[in-house]
Symmetry: C2
Subunit: 181 residues, 2 copies
DNA sequence: AGGCTATCTGGACACGTGTCCGTTTAGCAA
DNA sequence: TTGCTAAACGGACACGTGTCCAGATAGCCT
């Protein structure tokens, strides 16, 4: 990805940081950056050089999960029309969010949107896939983009479990209805 | 509100804190709590006792604005059907959000939702007013509540001005379409 | 007036974040 | 092997947040 030839010790550190982060996340869903640095036996500087933000670190930790999530979009389109596929895919997202709260933070645009829409990453592409299918069908309005959906999805990361079980479903319904043509 | 007979010196401090906060907000939209305390000539303890969270402080600072916003809901219902009224009212919200970014933070449920829906405050009541009108008309689905809308509205506080001018309108449309019956 | 106490005060702390920069070292080159 | 340098290291810092508690004092009560 960004590892334009890393020095050997640097690779070790990076790997160790990820390992430690994963470990810490098994006990709590919190991830104090300085705790990670300490546990990994590196300085703050090293940690932040490898992962400039907590999101960057979480994104790497959860890369596999995010990939799974992304990959689950296409098959749904074979079984359902776009809006239904989108709805089901959002269920997957909510489910991941429920189990591993970190996944959400990983896909949050942190703050002050990176270079236009590009930063969105693979999650954005998955959403675009679903939206585009719907736009072709005429079942989804043509003026929404993945970023819009991602922005609205942000609410998932700011709800605790209790609230999520009560509201998430309904709100996701609402979003999907909103993007319908 | 909560001032069950405040001691005279306490009242002075409280007033001074608010004054200082308002002042600081004229220059930037940031509001470091310790800066407020310092500028008001009180200790951290005093500041936090009066306003346990930044939101509490902002809520008080912007109380008048929030009241205006809330009051603008009812008249809209005289002129428009509920969904249109809601849409226009959300425009007002977005406009306030654009001008005074603090207003948003003031109505954010901070974290870990206070006692059920009640905390929502007057903004929630305004939304309920609009939603209820729509539910009576049959133009708004009966299973959404003001909290749902408020949660979705959270996106406004996490967009910078540039992004807001580009997306806010469209996303608000989308939300209103979502709550339509 | 003067004492008493509930209330308020305010700064020290513990903890987190992210940056900066002097020091160390991997890995190449001679 | 030895020297060199760009890359990486890591801890000290500056700054913010929110809590805690020993001391001060407003305002009632006698």
């Amino acid at each position: 990805m960004t590892d334009r030839r890393l020095r050997a010790d640097a690779m070790n550190n990076r790997a160790r940081i990820l390992e430690v982060a994963r470990e810490l996340l098994t006990s709590t869903s919190e991830l104090p950056m300085n705790a990670v640095a300490k546990a990994a036996g590196v300085g703050q500087g090293t940690l932040y050089r490898n992962f400039p933000t907590r999101e960057a670190l979480l994104a790497e930790v959860y890369r596999a999960d995010v990939d799974t999530l992304v990959a689950s979009a296409a098959p749904l389109l074979e079984l359902h029309e776009a809006p239904a596929a989108l709805r089901r895919w959002l269920d997957n997202v909510a489910e991941y969010a429920r189990v591993k709260r970190g996944v959400l933070a990983a896909l949050e645009p942190s703050s002050g949107h990176e270079l236009a829409t590009s930063h969105t990453g693979s999650i954005g592409e998955a959403i675009d896939l679903l939206l585009d299918a719907g736009k072709s069908e005429g079942s989804i309005r043509s003026d929404v983009d993945s970023q819009d959906v991602l922005i609205l999805l942000g609410f998932l990361s700011r709800m605790d479990e209790a609230e999520a079980t009560e509201r998430a479903d309904r709100i996701l319904d609402l979003i999907v209805d909103g993007v319908r043509a």
